[in-house]
Every structure is written in structure tokens, then in C-alpha cells.
Amino acid sequence: MSFDIAVTLRRARRTIAARITSEAPVVALFGPSGAGKTTVLDMVAGLVRPDAGRIAVGGEVLFDSAGGVNLAPERRACGYVFQDLRLFPHRSVGQNLRYGEALAPVERRFMGLDEAAGFLGIGHLLDRRPRSLSGGEAQRVAIGRALLAGPRFLLLDEPVSSLDRARREEILGVIARIRDELGLPILYVTHDERELARLGAEVVQIGD
């Protein structure tokens, strides 16, 4: 089972609930804005604590309210590509890429900086500062940073929604290659049905 998730979280005005049980390589959370899709990713990453439920990825339990399990974010080994990217502004692209790599245990690393840079086509950007990057470049750097941290699975939050059509195709191609060549389970948030079809994702509806 790649994703086995059942969580609820009560917020001020609404309750966010998600139930995801899937073997598919790409699982897409689909639903209107404000339904809580990003919050579900935050719960899987350990950044937001669910009120109740259980989160297991690839057989490893990350959170279980009944069993008293709640791994810290740094122990979950998730490659989270945030919608707002969150590249570190005071570090160069190369330093951003190495941030997680340096912290990952050797046995979890599956690709080095050169390989990742080649894979994503960002080798020429290593000395640049994040704020000097274009949208597509920054997106690829964020994906590279997540991959180099040696994740066991990926959380991708609308990774192409802010890009123009050409860049969108390019990034979707990269994600398809991650799916096929690296075999990492991917939890993907979008509200665009074309992306779902392109990635052959299993769809989980969030919200009404």
C-alpha cells in the first residue's frame, strides 16, 4: 500500500477529512480551492497535526492517534514541493539543493547533485540566488531539493499551476520521469483535470 491515510482535522469553520487508500504510483487530491488539500499534505508531512486518524506511507506509520505515533517532520523523509516553493532566499541554488542532501542518511540517498542537476536541467543555475530564477527554473530547483533529501515519497502541491503552458509540459514530463524511473509514490494536489490525465493519477476527492 503506497498511501494509507485516514485523518480528520477540525478547523474554526470547517472540518477537513481525507481518506486515501491506494496502490497507484500517483494519487491526486482533487477538489475546489479551500477544501483543505494543502492541509492534507501538511498533515502527511507532519507540519500540521490531525485531530485523529492514521497516516501510513509505503507501510511505515507516520502518525497514529490511537497508537500515540507522531513522527517529527524531519523523520518522515517526505519530499515536499510546496506550492510557494519556499526556496531559502539567503542561500544559492546549489546550497538549497544540498540542504537536505547533507542531512539525509547515506542509505536513503538515491541521487547525487550532478545527477539531479542533469535530470532537472538546472546545472547552470547552481551559483544563482533563488530570487533571480524564473518560475519554471525555481520549480525545478524546488523539486531537485526535495529529491536530493532522499525522500521515500513525494508531496507535490500544484507544482505546475503557476507556469505557462510550455513550462507546464516540461515539469509534468519531469514528474512522469520521477514516477517511472525513481518509483517514488507521489501525492499530488491540483484542480486541473488535464494534469490528472497526463500523469495517470488515481483521483481522491477532497471536500464536497
Binding site: 507532519g46 507540519l47 517526505c78 519556499r86 531559502f88 532566499p89 539567503h90 540542504y99 537536505g100 540566488r129
Partner: protein
């Protein structure tokens, strides 16, 4: 130029201010952190307490220090018995008074810089494998550094100018507690002291100017690239 005893006044002022800022910086940082990040109850009260020295008449602050740190005061008595330390009428007391007066300015500057650091960047660092302390040291601290440095230099400049609380708490003892502003005041009381006043006042303005420019330059240097995408 300055006479030897005037240089000594400048040296004492610099020593008092440096010690005041050095001692206050960790406390100011901790307070700024609590005020910027924590959701503890009573934060409003803590905020008000920290800012009190900014608005209370300095002579009152000095008098309160006298009550607390005097030989019979609760803290002063303990310092005396336990550590054999006296701050009354000593330069250490002048540093203490300067520290209390500089604290609000330092907390304000550091707090603003901490509030400007996007906590989402720390969250990103956590998902990349950094524990809370590493995320703090590699993300929060470097990004807040401009404000921390600016706060320290601002506190230093404020300490150099400290007058009211100091003269109330530790009096104006040449060579021990008589810092620049106190020496200027003392010289003003002496007939024909104008030339001393002029020289010391010029030094005061110069030191303050250097501190403020340094604060600005440091902040810019540290802030290079420190802009959230």
C-alpha cells in the same frame, strides 16, 4: 584633542556600553523570540514590562534599581552574600542601568526581524531533515541577523547616552561610574568647563554617529540576499 582623563571617560563609556549590550543581547533575543513567536497568555503584559524603561522617567528606573540592587535589596543582598558582587556605585552598576534602558530598543529591533522571517521556510527545512534547532540556526538566525545586529548596535548607542537611571543608581563617580553624559553634566557645573563640555559632546555625537552608520552597514551586508522569494 582630549586630555588623558577625558580619554579615560571615553574608555569607561565604551566598556560600560559593551558590557551592557553583551549581557543584554541573549535576554533581548529570548524576549523578542517569545514576543514574536509564542502564543503564551500574558504576552501583552510581558510586552508592556519590556517597554516600561522606554516611557518611565529614567530617574524612576534608577530608583527601582537602587531598591532591587542596593545592599539591602532583594537581588543586591543576594549578589553580595552569594557571589560577593556589588553593583552599587560600581561601573558594573552603570552597565546594569544602561542594559535596562537599552533592552526595549534591542527587543523591538530583534522582534521585528524575527517576525519578518517566514515560518514556512522553517517548515520547509524541517521536511528536508532538519530538527528544530538546526532549522533555527540555518534558516531563522541568518535571516534575522540584520535585525539582531542592528538591535545590538542601537542598544550600544543608547547605552552610551544613558544618563538619568545611571546617575540615580550609581551616582557620578569619576573613573568608576562617570560615563560621557555624566562627565558632560559634571563639567557644566564647573565655571569655565565649557571647553571640556565641547570636546566631550563632540566625541559623544561622533560615537553615536559611528554606531548608527555601523548598524545600517551591518544590516545591509547581512541582509544581502535575505529577501523572501
Amino acid at each position: 584633542m582630549l586630555a588623558a582623563d577625558e580619554w579615560q571617560i571615553v574608555a569607561l563609556s565604551l566598556k560600560v556600553s559593551a558590557v551592557a549590550v553583551g549581557l543584554t543581547l541573549p535576554l533581548a533575543f529570548a524576549l523578542a523570540w517569545v514576543l514574536a513567536r509564542s502564543r503564551m497568555p500574558g504576552k501583552v503584559l510581558l510586552d508592556a514590562l519590556v517597554h516600561l524603561p522606554l516611557v518611565v522617567p529614567p530617574v524612576v528606573t534608577g530608583w527601582l534599581l537602587l531598591l532591587a540592587f542596593g545592599a539591602n535589596g532583594p537581588i543586591g543582598g543576594w549578589l553580595e552574600r552569594a557571589l560577593g558582587v556589588t553593583v552599587m556605585f560600581r561601573w558594573t552598576g552603570a552597565a546594569l542601568a544602561a542594559a535596562v534602558m537599552a533592552l526595549p530598543l534591542m527587543v523591538r529591533a530583534i522582534r521585528l526581524s524575527l517576525e519578518a522571517v517566514d515560518p514556512r521556510l522553517e517548515a520547509a527545512a524541517r521536511t528536508l531533515g532538519a530538527g528544530p534547532w538546526r532549522a533555527f540556526a540555518t534558516i531563522t538566525l541568518p535571516l534575522a541577523l540584520p535585525g539582531v545586529l542592528a538591535g545590538a548596535v542601537l542598544g550600544f548607542a543608547r547605552s552610551l547616552g544613558e544618563f538619568g537611571a545611571t546617575i540615580t543608581f550609581v551616582s557620578s563617580i569619576p573613573g568608576e561610574t562617570q560615563t560621557l553624559p555624566l562627565a558632560i553634566y559634571a563639567a557644566l557645573q564647573v565655571p569655565g568647563g565649557e571647553s571640556v563640555v565641547t570636546r566631550l559632546a563632540a566625541i559623544s555625537v561622533l560615537l553615536s554617529l559611528v554606531a548608527l552608520v555601523a548598524s545600517e552597514v551591518l544590516a545591509r551586508r547581512a541582509g544581502r540576499g535575505a529577501h523572501v522569494l
